[in-house]
């Protein structure tokens, strides 16, 4: 938990002023860098998926059920479902779960089998901030399906 360490500083002295100006000067390029990083998250997640999934990813059949706003980003309950008969001839082989805004995009790789009867998995995951959670299902016939869900993550009002 961060503590506010400006206690005792009551006057805006020259040194303090220069520090403020200096920080402001840095802030602009830093903000650009950060936004690039945010974009890199989605790109990194996409590259991660492309490195694992063989077929072209089509939208559909995969659903992520999650709260619209997570009570806390450290423990977010989600359910992944994939439309599939889960028979020997037609089943979900693998589900790749990624979080676009996390320091590392990979969350889990789920290996399924026809012995499951239904492609449905519940997990609790960590999300660093508001972001898209993406699940890609690789089927036994080689096709790949993608579903995503935005989950809002907020910082507590009192920093705690």
């Amino acid at each position: 938990m961060e503590t506010n360490n400006t206690a005792g500083k009551s006057r805006l002295n020259r040194r303090h002023f220069l520090t403020l100006v200096g920080s402001a000067a840095l802030a602009l390029p830093l903000a650009t860098l950060l936004s690039k990083t945010a974009h890199a998250g989605a790109k990194e997640a996409d590259e991660f998926l492309k490195s694992k999934v063989k077929g072209a990813m089509k939208e559909g059949r995969v659903k992520i059920i999650a709260p619209e706003i997570a009570e806390n980003g450290n423990t977010v309950p989600i359910t992944i479902t994939v439309e599939s008969p889960m028979t020997e001839k037609d089943y979900v082989k693998t589900v790749y779960l990624v979080a676009e805004g996390n320091p590392n995009p990979g969350v889990a790789t789920v290996n399924l089998s026809p012995m499951m009867g239904e492609a449905k998995v519940d997990l609790r995951i960590r999300l660093a901030k508001t972001q898209n959670v993406v699940a890609v299902a690789e089927m036994s016939d080689g096709s790949a399906w993608k579903g995503s869900q935005e989950i809002k993550v907020t910082i507590g009002g009192c920093g705690g």
Binding site: T3, N4, E71, N74, P77, I155, C158, G159, G160
Partner: protein, 268 residues
Amino acid sequence: MAEKAMRILGLVVGLTCLVAPVTQAEENLSKYVSGSVKSGYYYAAPETRAMQDDDFANPGYILVDHGMKVWDQKDGKEGKSCASCHTDLSKDMGDVGAVYPKYNERLKKVLSVEGQINVCRVERMGASALKLDSDDLLGLTILVKNQAKGKPIKVDISRPEVKKMYEEGKDYYLTRKGQLDLSCASCHEENAGNFIRTELLSMGLPTGFPVYRLKWENNGTFIRRAYGCIEDNRADPPPKDDPIYVALELYLMHKANGLPVETPGVRK
């Protein structure tokens, strides 16, 4: 005659339609409201409540299991375990969660459950005191308080020594402190049900402690939570062994009288 009957019928039908049907969800929530006080459960998100309500999905029950192991374990010079003296867990500990913090006659002071457990360990078992927020102490506290789950809280402050400590806790609760110059009441009484930035404020009643906090990804004590809250307020929290925390818990648990014991609760 027929016209009057029709009017009465119309009135009855109209009134019946006005009375909103009580849904299952509302019925569940009403359990967590008592007079003017509401449990943190009332303010929690549906998925958080669901986590608490499922005895398997609620991670606090991992510590109930662990507590059971520690309960049965012999420890200390006397070669005893908790079970050596408290032979019937659910009977002997049945009310603890509902009546603590409580006055200890022999020591002439008010103790929290954690405090009482350590008194027992040191004085009866000749064992060492357990560290606050250790798995062993969390496990024992949750195990013991869980025996009272569902029972209405009924903390007694009629005794003058207890009333005095209650007043100390109340005073601390109402006193503005820290750089944000807020008192506990500023948020938890005056603004319960409102948002501070994106955070929905509850009444801050410790009905489920030691709770599983989604943020901590672990169970934690009331003291851990209160300490953190005071820190977040940019005030200096007293050290964790300061009796003010017992006074605060006493004040809050008495305020929560009537609400059901929820240990182990799940909160954000």
